[in-house]
Symmetry: C2
Subunit: 375 residues, 2 copies
DNA sequence: CTGAAAGCGCTTACAG
DNA sequence: CTGAAAGCGCTTACAG
């Protein structure tokens, strides 16, 4: 707080002159000061190694290693001397060396296709939780729906010899994953399937989700129902398929638009659908696109649900504070994440090699964004 | 899609019997099948090493290394033989060995205190983007507002000898960071300051944000203004200080409550404040707590802004679709993140050692969650 | 239970 | 420009 009080003295000179993204302006708005460096040098260089500890404790490096890792018992006079030496020298083992020796790292890699999407974020959170408890550290990579970043990260994870890989594949899935698999590193795919038959897969039943979302609207007498999806993303394609099934079963004509999985795309897709025809309902295939669609409906003064009913797929944390609270098909994210970790661990611990595919049904949560169409 | 069609055949048997979190039920809801394993063994074991490549290309390992890293030019007959051998053997260098030899990894560690908070998620995204472009890989750790996880991850990053650390410290900040700093690994703190004077710090001007949020409400004739914060989180404490400054400058009595930085806590804090007195306005110190507060206001039928006006600090992506769209003090997240990466790189590349502190002002964005108090 | 020694798979001065 | 050799800092059979 002391620092803060000082920092705030001449703060907040905005005066409306702030322009988002203007880097030049940043110089003016920010204050930059050199903090005192208190004499301590960042003492690079002379790092202490296991040999130094051994010497100081009058034991062999092997013994130090053994107390460090607990790989074998060490008798009392030695043990304590080692511990003290470690403490006195502030020794921290170099994992780079340990990893090389052991030919593995205590990490599992998690590749996520969009870290800003709350759906993935919730997944990651659950995965990290579970893995952490089991003493695995998580190396999280954001592939940004990009094949190139996915390849680069997969390459790195393979080179780094992680214990296992958990991935929500960016499309097109599959090819780049072989390198990892060939190294004998187990992979489990979540949210979206992966082509390689050696990988486990945990997905929601997306075509069912799309179908049920649509059927729910049809049951409320809607007929002109649009769909916002993303032809480039496998989950959305499946949801679209479910939507189309339901529509054709009811002899209604489907109309869908590409929302590119993002907020902005969802907005554009909504615009396009609205332009083309007089919709009374919308199925939106993911939570980010739902935001875009809602923004457009609001901007046009089309009230939800009276004028346009909406069913979203995904149940993000904000679904209830939106006006009206969203009726959704929710994936059991937490349980799916736990399953993902369990599958990976099973492979790690039992050496299982036959691939599993687990499909979770979604749950319909009725809130207030759908009403019966007034005929 | 083929796989999907099959998967969906008997999908979606929910029938209302699904209970969130019931693990037992999971067995019934999910279908698990063994996928074909197509004969390929996960050929563990016989990994190919640089020596194998060298042998096949009739060159020395040193030469292979040189074409791999580009550390020195390699003449044509050799170069091509090496490339072919690499390709034929599907060789991928073992980074564990490379790292050990070089005594560093091409990774920077990013520690974030809550990965489910869109504020951090946006930050992480921007950091990852910038770092990736510069060819650094990001090791992301979720500390969960927990000193223990923070310590464990910091320990790991130190042992792993990452190039640099970017951290939004969980409180209490500081102590655990010394190990990293002592190793000569640069650290830059974001969102919240870190105690060690060797670290760079990039923060928003939080007391100013709290003050301006409050002044804005006071200017709209509000007098009974509550504050939802988190005494355990430095940013929130600063925002509270700003709030208190503004209140006492206007001779109004402050009333604040602890929302523990989460949705649930925000809800409880709102309940508590509402119970204690007849508020007409609320300042909420972060976006997650804002959700909780809004849920409570909605549940009680207290309309925003007519009955209770709200100013939130943080401008998450959902601020505009909420009803009413939120008036907020927004941090320039993207620019802050870019600054963070720039500071780290500067240390990495120029070897700068004097610490910097950069403070960004927040921007007031007026939307519709505040109205003039009707006297 | 402890120590001496080999080795994990690379990279990089050092010669040539 | 290329190769032989040393070495990064650990761990782990192998003796004792």
């Amino acid at each position: 707080m002391v620092t803060y009080a000082g920092a705030a003295v001449n703060g907040g000179r905005l005066d409306g002159c702030l322009e988002e993204g203007t880097v030049v302006a940043m110089q003016d708005e920010t204050r930059e000061t050199a903090a005192p460096t208190d004499g301590r040098r960042p003492d690079t260089g002379a790092t202490v190694r296991i040999g130094d500890v051994a010497q100081r404790a009058h034991v062999s490096p092997a013994t130090v290693s053994r107390v460090l890792t607990g790989s074998a018992p060490v008798k009392e006079p030695y043990r304590e001397r080692v511990l003290r030496a470690i403490d006195e020298l502030d020794y921290r083992p170099n994992l780079l060396a340990r990893n090389l020796r052991r030919q593995k790292v205590g990490m599992i890699g998690v590749l996520v296709s969009d870290i800003e999407n709350p759906h993935f974020t919730a997944m990651v959170r659950a995965v990290e939780d579970a893995a952490y408890r089991l003493d695995y550290r998580v190396l999280l990579c954001n592939t940004d729906e990009t094949a190139e970043k996915q390849r680069a990260y997969l390459e790195m994870l393979a080179a780094e010899r992680v214990l296992g890989v958990i991935i929500s594949p960016s499309n097109p899935a599959g090819k780049e994953i072989e390198g990892v698999l060939n190294l004998g590193i187990p992979v489990v795919a979540f949210d979206r399937p992966v082509d390689d038959p050696r990988a486990d897969v945990v997905v929601a039943d997306n075509v069912d989700a799309g179908r049920r979302a649509t059927e729910y609207l049809i049951a409320a007498a809607h007929e002109r129902i649009g769909f916002i999806g993303d032809p480039g993303v496998e989950t959305c394609v499946a949801r679209l398929a479910g939507y189309e099934e339901a529509m054709s079963a009811a002899v209604l004509s489907p109309r869908s638009s590409d929302g590119r999985s993002r907020i902005g795309g969802g907005a554009e897709a909504a615009e396009a659908l609205l332009r083309d025809g007089d919709l009374t309902a919308l199925v939106v295939a993911n939570n980010l696109m739902t935001i875009g669609a809602l923004e457009v409906l609001r901007a046009r003064g089309l009230r939800v649900p009276e004028r346009v009913s909406v069913v979203a797929i995904d149940d993000p944390f904000w679904a209830q504070i939106v006006e009206p609270p969203l009726t959704v098909l929710a994936q059991p994210v937490r349980r799916m994440a736990e399953r993902v970790v369990a599958l990976l661990l099973e492979r790690l611990e039992t050496g299982r090699t036959d691939a599993r595919r687990v499909v979770f049904p979604c749950e319909l949560i009725e809130r207030a964004s759908v009403c019966r169409r007034v005929v």
